[in-house]
């Protein structure tokens, strides 16, 4: 029997970036907020300090900062005809845990999705007609526009101190920035990072081919910065231990560096770590949440009553929490009805390997998580899809992050898998190989979805999330086309050999691709095809807001975090300015 605690105004599920942002916005609005974090407390000092942090085996290979699969994982199958099995070693994505969440171990790549992403269905049909794509591709509009979100993108970038160069300042194109971005109200808070050698070669080659290269926006900072919360960050030193690690230098934007110290000072905020939320509780009508039930680290169960519930877990866990709590109707792929779990998408990432001779030293270890140079000429609908037969796109970039040798030791095709020939090839190519990333979109497909597994359970006895996913034909075509474009740039970089490695099906859980799992609680204008409205408020239970990349109706070409930060501020403002004054649905249908 759970112990009932005194009621609070707000309970935040998860104290990662979303929980921290919402926690601060809501305490400032005068509310008492309880933050429940499943993992451990941790801070830059002492938890992320070196030398211990610079341990490839512990943190990158054994994934020391990630969710412990022994307690909690996801089951997987490629299609509904298979039996899903648990992912026993989590490899394909990095599920974070602990105070600060995934924005402790992220790379810091900070983009804004484009208006063509937010209005993908409308604009695709306008430009290419209603019959351009298969009816199985269930991509849809988000219910917001880039212009509506601009002030929130701006605020999030200034919170993080993002380093970059504007390409479109209030409608005026700026040379050297991203010419395809929607108008921004002001430049990035800090100038672009220094350009490593491989990125420099990419920029020259891309320019020569008529493309428009620019520095990738980075929240590993180019200069010291003081953010609007008064918190100071250092310039990044390009140590090459970024993604999968915490930053000891205070140079990567994370909840710990940009916001948490301000929140933790506020007496209206209560942080409880080691607390696993088991479900959101509903009243007898099923239309209002009364709080949550959680288990603390000793296993004792508590009921935390609250007037407002913010579900701010990792995208996959947001979906699972709604399913465990019976909020909304689970998606059924047979009848294509129901919404929770629908439109799960990922990110179609591939690469071109660029092998140079020994006179070109790439020094892959002198990198940061988000430095490098990219082009957006093939992002979203920035190019004509008419003759190509697919939707979506990718940015191409020389955006290498590290040269950590257990995982990075590229060899050209034809190299033996082991033995003297392998060793020779590794020694020959380690410092002379660059990678061009093809960071591709992931379209929603009626057969790809998330639900609860009927067999496998977590350590608390609750059903694991079941992922049913394969790469849609649309995305395989996109990957093949754009990986070849990346290889063309690689050849123009002066390489002796370029190897394009387009993404091939079937989707596999055994190799890392990206931690950009999206969808499942998608936002939209129609409750029959979305779980939350444009303010990320549940259509079914108005005092539950579900904030995360789970709200994305499909995934776009760019990395998702910048858009998530903008949506979190957008949602927080709607709660503070409108919902608190008149609690109820913010959108009526």
């Amino acid at each position: 029997m759970a112990t009932r605690l005194p009621e609070t105004d707000v309970v935040c599920l998860g104290v990662g970036m979303v929980g921290t942002m919402l926690g601060l916005e809501l305490t400032r609005a005068g509310l008492n907020v309880v933050g429940l974090e499943g993992g451990l407390p941790r801070n830059t000092v002492p938890d992320f300090q070196g030398p211990a942090m610079h341990d490839e085996l512990r943190f990158a290979v054994r994934k020391g900062m990630m969710v412990d699969a022994a307690r909690e994982t996801v089951t997987f199958r490629n299609h509904a005809g298979e039996t899903a099995l648990p992912i026993r070693y989590i490899e394909a994505f990095l599920l974070g845990t602990g105070l600060g969440g995934s924005l402790v171990h992220w790379n810091g790549v900070t983009w804004r999705f484009q208006d063509t992403d937010f209005r993908m269905r409308t604009l695709t049909e306008q430009r290419y007609g209603k019959k351009f794509t298969s009816p199985d591709l269930t991509f849809q509009d988000w219910g917001v526009t880039a212009a509506e979100l601009e002030p929130y993108f701006d605020r999030f970038e200034y919170l993080l101190g993002t380093s970059g160069k504007a390409g479109n300042l209030r409608g005026k194109k700026i040379q050297g920035g991203n010419p395809f971005e929607d108008p921004r109200s002001r430049d990035y808070p800090t100038p672009p990072m220094k350009e490593p050698y491989g990125s420099h070669l990419f920029r020259k080659a891309a320019q020569g081919l008529g493309y428009h290269p620019f520095p990738q926006p980075s929240s590993n900072l180019s200069t010291p910065y003081t953010n609007p919360e008064g918190l100071k960050l250092n310039a990044c030193v390009f140590c090459g231990f970024c993604e999968r690690f915490g930053c000891e230098h205070f140079a990567k934007s994370s909840p710990q560096t940009v916001l948490l110290p301000a929140l933790l000072k506020d007496p209206r905020f209560t942080l409880r770590t080691g607390c696993q939320v088991l479900k959101v509780n509903l009243d007898s009508s099923g239309q209002r949440a009364t709080g949550v039930t959680y288990a603390d680290s000793t296993g004792k169960e508590f009921e935390q009553p609250a007037k407002l519930v913010i579900v701010g877990l990792y995208a996959l866990n947001n979906v699972r929490m709604l399913l465990l709590s019976g909020i909304g109707k689970a998606y059924d792929p047979q009848t294509r009805t129901g919404t929770v779990g629908r439109n799960y998408a990922h990110q179609t990432v591939s690469a071109a390997q660029v092998f140079f001779d020994r006179n070109t030293r790439i020094n892959p270890f002198m990198r940061s998580g988000a430095c490098g140079t990219a082009i957006a000429d093939f992002v979203s609908d920035n190019f004509d899809h008419g003759p190509l037969g697919f939707v979506g796109g990718a940015y191409l970039g020389e955006v290498m992050t590290n040269g950590r040798p257990i995982e990075f030791h590229p060899t050209p095709p034809g190299t033996p898998g082991w033995g003297a020939g392998w060793k020779k090839a590794v020694a020959e190519h380690y410092n002379h190989t660059s990678l061009i990333t093809v960071h591709g979109s992931s379209v929603a497909h009626a057969a790809n979805y998330l639900d609860l597994d009927p067999t496998y359970k977590d350590a608390w006895g609750l059903p694991l999330l079941r992922m049913t996913f394969d790469l849609p034909e649309n995305d395989l075509k996109m990957s093949a086309y754009l990986t070849e474009k990346a290889a063309e740039i690689g050849r123009a970089m002066g390489a002796k050999q370029v190897v394009g490695l387009p993404r091939k099906g079937p989707f596999t859980t055994t190799i890392y691709q990206t931690t950009h799992n999206t969808g499942g609680t998608v936002m939209g204008e129609d409750p029959s095809t979305s779980v939350v409205n444009k303010y990320l408020q549940s259509w079914d239970v108005h005092n539950v807001f579900v904030i995360g990349a789970s709200a994305y109706p499909q995934n776009a070409s760019y990395n998702p975090t910048g858009t998530l930060g903008a949506l979190a501020y957008w949602s927080a403002e709607a709660i503070v300015k409108r919902y608190l004054k008149a609690p109820g649905p913010l959108v009526h249908t």
């Binding site: 000092v45 300090q49 070196g50 030398p51 610079h54 341990d55 490839e56 054994r62 990630m66 699969a69 022994a70 994982t73 490629n78 039996t83 099995l85 648990p86 992912i87 026993r88 070693y89 989590i90 490899e91 220094k194 490593p196 050698y197 420099h200 200069t223 010291p224 910065y225 100071k232 250092n234 310039a235 030193v237 390009f238 140590c239 090459g240 000891e248 230098h249 205070f250 006179n359 070109t360 030293r361 020094n363 270890f365 002198m366 040269g403 040798p405 257990i406 030791h409 898998g417 082991w418 033995g419 392998w422 060793k423 020779k424 380690y430 410092n431 496998y456 989707f507 859980t509 055994t510």
Partner: protein, 252 residues
């Protein structure tokens, strides 16, 4: 340049840069006396197999020492007796079923159980094929047998040989390229071979010196401790003055 910053750069070894012609990190031999190797997991017969196998997987040659010389067998022994071997971060609940390749590893065995099961079966299988010990075979014959294991189809007491081989190979790569703190990569031989400068580096001043030939002794976690690099005191810019390696960058 202020004194603290100069000291940092000196400690970080950044004053030994050369530019121009390609250079390879200088090798230094360990002058420490050899310690006897204590085994925490393998039997002597197991260990003889692992030592012989890894010396074929990453052999010593003109490029430098191989996995055997880098103490990778010791690394694997310690990994299997430790948390990794015991199934750390491994979802262990049943039911167990054969899955598709995309569903990944689906055997019941922890890594330690997998080696405990496969190695005796391997010794038996090997004897039935070759009437001797793997470690006494010619390198060519050893390669042949390893290729047969890798190809698969040999049942090692319930462990398919291709799964056993894949684990042995991934552990070999980890032990060869990982930090010496874990018992392999002795004297950082693999890092010297490829030119990886090691666990710690601050490259703010170097990253835009394109095509730089960096010559620097690699730094292991132990070296970083030994040289007192300013990492354990914290670099919080919100608190006391600190010597940050990118302090040349100006706030805008």
């Amino acid at each position: 340049m202020d004194e603290s910053r100069r000291k940092f750069l000196k400690n970080a070894g950044l004053f030994t840069i050369v530019t121009g012609a390609a250079t390879v990190g200088a090798c230094t031999k360990s002058e420490k006396a050899e310690q006897p190797k204590a085994l925490t997991f393998f039997s002597p017969l197991d260990f003889a197999f692992v030592e012989a196998a890894i010396s074929r997987l990453i052999p010593a040659d003109e490029l430098g020492p191989g996995a055997l010389e880098a103490d990778v067998a010791v690394y694997i022994d310690r990994q299997l007796s430790g948390a990794y071997g015991g199934g750390d971060r491994f979802y262990r609940s049943g039911p167990w079923r054969e899955g598709s390749p995309q569903q990944g590893y689906q055997l019941r065995f922890t890594p330690a159980e997998l080696f405990r099961t496969a190695l005796p079966a391997l010794h038996t299988h090997f004897r039935s094929q070759h009437h001797g010990e793997f470690s006494k075979l010619s390198p060519e014959k050893q390669d042949e047998y390893l290729k047969a294991l890798q190809k698969g189809g040999i049942d090692l007491g319930g462990v398919p040989s291709e799964i056993f081989f894949a684990r042995l190979w991934s552990l070999t790569v980890e032990g060869f390229f990982g930090d010496p703190a874990y018992g392999g990569n002795k004297d950082m031989v693999s890092w010297r071979m490829i030119g990886f400068p090691g666990a710690y580096g601050a490259y703010y001043e170097l990253v835009d010196r394109h095509n730089l030939a960096l010559r620097r002794e690699p730094k292991s976690l132990a070296d970083a401790h030994r040289h007192g690099l300013p990492m354990d005191s914290g670099m919080d810019p919100n608190h006391a003055a600190h010597a940050h390696p990118a302090s040349g960058a100006k706030e805008t």
